[in-house]
C-alpha cells in the first residue's frame, strides 16, 4: 500500500522497513528535515557521534558484530567528506554500510553553495555504488536498492545523497517489496563441475591447506559452521587472514593461526610448502603473499570468491570458483561425501608431522620481564582473564593490532573487528562503540595503541552519553610502534617523527570525559588492573605502560617470500634489501 509523505519521512520509513534499529549520525543544515522525523519516532535509535568518521567506523563495528548493514546519517559538505575515510575502509574490508548524506537543494547544486560538495563525485571511487536522488518519488526506491546493493554479492558501502528540497517535497512511498532491484543479482552458487574438480584434488592432496578470509565471515555464521565441518571431516590444516579470524575456532585442533606478514611461522611455512591451497573467501592481499614470484611455488591453487575480479587479480589460480562461500562449501561437502569421503591419509599424516615440527619453533615466544609489561604479556593476560566470556575485540592499527591477532584467540565469527585493508588508525574506538550499541550486554574491548587511539578519542563522549561500557585497553609505548619498528629495520634507526611527545594523561582524560581510567606499569598489578577494567560498570580507559621498543615478530620482511620470515631480533640486521624497502 502506497502512502503520500515527505522525503524526510520516507527516509525514516524506509529504514524501518529495512529493519534498521540503530543509526549513527551527526546533524547539520542539509539533513534537518530528516532529523525532525527522527525526533518524532521511537523505533530507531540515533547515536550522536562527535565526528562523522567516528559514525562510519561505528556503523562498521555494528555491521561486523551483527552481520547486518550499518547505517550512517550525515550532513552535506564537511559531513560527507568526513565520512570518506570510513567509506574507503568499509570498501576495502567489504563491510555493508548505507550512508545517507544531506545535500544542498537541487536548484543550488553546482553554485558552490554553503556546505556544498560534489559528494557523489568524491565518494564514487570509495563506495560500491552511490546515488544522488533528485526526485522525492524515487527516494524510497533508491534507499531500498541501496540496501540490496550493500548487502548482496561482495558487500560494501553505498551512499545516497539527498538534497534538502527532496526531503521537504512529498510523494508516494514505496516499500521494499514493491522495488525491482534490477539486474544487479550476483551469483551465489558455484559451478558444480569446478567444485567436483576441487573434490578430486582434496581426495588426492598430500599437503593441503585451507586459507580462509573475511569472505567466510561475510557469508554468515552458516559458512563458518561449514568451514568447521570441512576442516574436521578432512583433517586439513586451517589458517586465516586478519579478516577471517574466528571463522575457525582458535581452540580447534587444525588451527595454525593467522598467516601473512606477522602471521605464525607454521601457517606461513605451510602456505609455502603445500601442494593444494584452497583459498576460501580471501584475496591474496600483499600482506599475505609476500614476494609474488615465490609465493607457494609448488601448489595447485583453488580460489572460492564471490567477486570475479578477485580471481587472478594478484595470483594466478588453477581452479577458480565464483560463488558465495556458504553455498560453495555446502556443495563441496555434499559432493565429497557422495564420492565416499576419500582422502590421502598417508600424505596427510606426513604433512601434520611436518607442521608439528614447524609448530615446535614456538614462533610467538618472547623474552618476558618482571619489571616492565611486555605488550605480548598484556594480551596474554587479557586473553586469560576474559576466557569463556562472549567477548568482542576491536583494534586500532599497528603493532598492538598484530599482537592482538597473534595472542588473542577467537572462537566465533563476528567477534573481531579490525581495519584490515585500509589500515585506518582511529578505527578501533568508534568501532567498539558501534559493537557495544549492537550488543549492550557484551564485553567489548578495544585493543589500542596510544597514537591510534588519539585519532578518534572524541568518541569517548559518545560512549559516555549512550552509556556504552566499552573498555579501552591502550598498550602505551609512547611511540608509533610499527613506524618505529620499520625505521629500525629499514631506515638505519633514524626515528623520524615516530615518538609521541606530550601524550595526555589518559586517566585524567577518562575523568574529563566522565568515565573511569587507570594506569598500570608494573607486571604484578596487571591482572588486577584488567579485572578492574572489566568490573567497572561503564566505559573505561586502561593505560598500560608497556616496553617501548618491543618489535612485532614473526615478520616477513617486505619483498621476501614466506620461507624467509624472521622470528626474532637477532635475525633482523640488514635483511630488507633496497627493492623491498619500496614496498610498505
Amino acid at each position: 500500500m502506497s502512502r503520500m509523505m515527505t522525503g524526510a519521512r520516507m527516509v525514516v520509513e524506509a529504514l524501518r522497513d529495512q529493519g534498521v534499529d540503530t543509526v549513527f549520525g551527526y546533524p547539520g543544515g542539509a539533513v534537518l528535515p530528516i532529523y525532525d522525523e527522527i525526533f518524532q519516532q521511537n523505533d530507531i535509535t540515533h547515536i550522536l557521534v562527535r565526528h562523522e568518521q567516528g559514525a562510519v567506523h561505528m556503523a562498521e563495528g555494528y555491521a561486523r558484530a551483527t552481520g547486518k548493514p550499518g547505517v550512517v546519517l550525515v550532513t552535506s559538505g564537511p559531513g560527507a567528506t568526513n565520512a570518506v575515510t570510513g567509506l574507503t575502509d568499509a570498501l576495502l574490508d567489504s563491510i555493508p554500510l548505507i550512508v545517507l548524506s544531506g545535500q544542498v537543494p537541487t536548484f543550488m547544486i553546482g553554485t558552490d553553495g554553503f556546505q556544498e560538495a560534489d559528494t557523489v563525485g568524491i565518494t564514487r571511487p570509495c563506495t560500491k555504488h552511490n546515488w544522488l536522488v533528485k526526485d522525492t518519488g524515487k527516494l524510497a526506491e533508491t534507499i531500498h536498492k541501496a540496501f540490496h546493493v550493500a548487502t548482496s554479492g561482495r558487500p560494501g558501502p553505498v551512499l545516497v545523497d539527498i538534497p534538502k528540497d527532496v526531503q521537504f517535497a512529498s510523494d508516494l512511498y514505496v516499500g521494499p517489496k514493491q522495488v525491482d532491484n534490477g539486474p544487479y543479482q550476483p551469483v551465489k552458487k558455484g559451478n558444480l563441475d569446478a567444485i567436483t574438480r576441487l573434490v578430486e584434488m582434496i581426495e588426492q592432496a598430500e599437503r593441503p591447506i585451507l586459507y580462509t578470509g573475511g569472505g567466510v565471515i561475510n557469508s554468515g555464521p552458516g559458512a563458518s559452521q561449514l568451514l568447521r565441518e570441512l576442516a574436521e571431516a578432512t583433517g586439513f590444516p586451517v589458517t586465516s587472514t586478519l579478516m577471517g579470524l574466528g571463522a575457525y575456532p582458535a581452540s580447534g585442533k587444525n588451527w595454525l593461526g593467522m598467516l601473512g606478514m606477522h602471521g605464525l611461522y607454521e601457517a606461513n611455512l605451510a602456505m609455502h610448502g603445500c601442494d593444494l591451497m584452497i583459498n576460501i573467501g580471501a584475496r591474496f592481499d600483499d600482506r599475505i603473499t609476500g614476494r609474488i614470484a615465490d609465493f607457494s611455488p609448488n601448489s595447485v591453487k583453488a580460489h572460492i570468491d564471490i567477486d570475479p575480479s578477485s580471481i587472478n587479480k594478484v595470483v594466478q589460480v588453477e581452479l577458480p570458483i565464483v560463488g558465495d562461500v556458504g553455498h560453495v562449501l555446502e556443495d563441496l561437502l555434499k559432493v565429497w561425501k557422495s564420492r565416499g569421503r576419500k582422502l590421502n591419509s598417508a600424505g596427510l599424516k606426513n604433512w601434520w608431522g611436518q607442521i608439528d615440527e614447524w609448530r615446535a619453533k614456538k614462533c610467538l615466544a618472547y623474552r618476558g620481564s618482571d619489571t616492565i609489561i611486555k605488550p605480548q604479556h598484556a594480551l596474554q593476560r587479557l586473553e586469560a582473564l576474559t576466557k569463556g566470556r562472549d567477548r568482542y575485540i576491536t583494534t586500532e592499527v599497528g603493532q598492538h593490532q598484530m599482537w592482538a591477532a597473534q595472542y588473542l584467540g577467537f572462537e566465533e565469527p563476528n567477534r573481531w573487528m579490525t581495519s584490515g585493508g585500509l589500515g585506518t588508525m582511529g578505527y578501533g574506538l568508534p568501532a567498539s562503540v558501534g559493537v557495544q550499541a549492537a550488543h549492550p550486554e557484551a564485553l567489548v574491548i578495544n585493543v589500542a595503541g596510544d597514537a591510534s587511539w588519539l585519532m578518534n578519542m572524541q568518541e569517548m563522549g559518545t560512549a559516555v552519553q549512550f552509556r556504552l561500557p566499552v573498555k579501552q585497553f591502550i598498550l602505551n609505548n609512547e611511540r608509533l610502534g610499527m613506524v618505529r619498528q620499520w625505521q629500525q629495520l629499514l631506515h638505519g634507526e633514524r626515528y623520524s617523527q615516530s615518538w609521541s611527545d606530550s601524550l595526555p594523561d589518559f586517566v585524567k582524560l577518562a575523568e574529563a570525559f566522565g568515565c573511569k581510567g587507570a594506569q598500570v606499569s608494573d607486571p604484578k598489578d596487571l591482572d588486577d588492573a584488567i579485572q578492574q577494567m572489566m568490573d567497572y560498570d561503564g566505559p573505561f580507559i586502561l593505560d598500560v605502560l608497556v616496553e617501548k621498543h618491543e618489535n612485532c615478530f614473526p615478520m616477513i620482511p617486505s619483498g621476501k617470500p614466506h620461507n624467509e620470515m624472521l622470528l626474532g631480533e637477532a635475525e633482523t640486521l640488514g635483511v630488507i634489501e633496497s627493492e623491498g624497502a619500496v614496498l610498505v
Binding site: 564514487r124 588426492q204 592432496a205 595447485v300 580471481i311 594466478q316
Partner: protein, 186 residues
Amino acid sequence: MNALNIQKGMSSHSAYDLKDPNGQIEESHTLAIMVENEPGVLARVIGLFSGRGYNIDSLTVAEVDHQGHRSRITVVTRGTPAVIEQIKAQLGRIVVVHEVHDLTVEGPVVERELGLFKVKGQGEKRVEALRIAEIFRANVVDSTLESFVFELVGPVSKLDAFAELMRPLGLIDLARTGLAALSRGV
C-alpha cells in the same frame, strides 16, 4: 597432484583462457560495455581506468536504447592478457554495468570510426586533396574557395592513412569520433 593433469593457467571459460595468463606482451582489445544510462555512469567507467592505471586508447559512448535507458560504451584498451581479464572483471563489478563484451576475442568484428578533416589549400594542392578524398570515398561536407571539410568513415587505419596524406596538402584541423564496433554475424 600431477596425476590430475592440471596445467597452470588452464580453466574452462573460453578459448581465450588457454593463452598464457602470465604473458607479458601487451594486446589491444575492443570492449563493448552495456550500461544503464544514469548520471555519472561514464565517470564510473573512466574513473575505474584511471584509478587502477589502465589505458584508454579510444572511447565512444551513446544511448542506444532510449526506452530502456541503455548506453553502449566502446573502449579500446591495451594490456597484458592478465590485465585485460582484470579490466573486464573490474568493469563487471560496477553495479550499473549490465554486460561487458570483449569483441576482440568473441569473433570477427566490424570496427568503424568517423573523422572530419579540414584541409586548407589552393591550386594544385586543392585538386590533389579532392582526388585523394575520392579514392578514399570521403565526402565533402563543407567547402569554401580555399578549404574543404571531408567526412570519412572507416577502420582506424584508414582514417590514419587519410590524415597522413592530407597533412602535406594543408590539413589544419581534424576531429575523430573514436571507435564504434559490432560483432559480425549473429
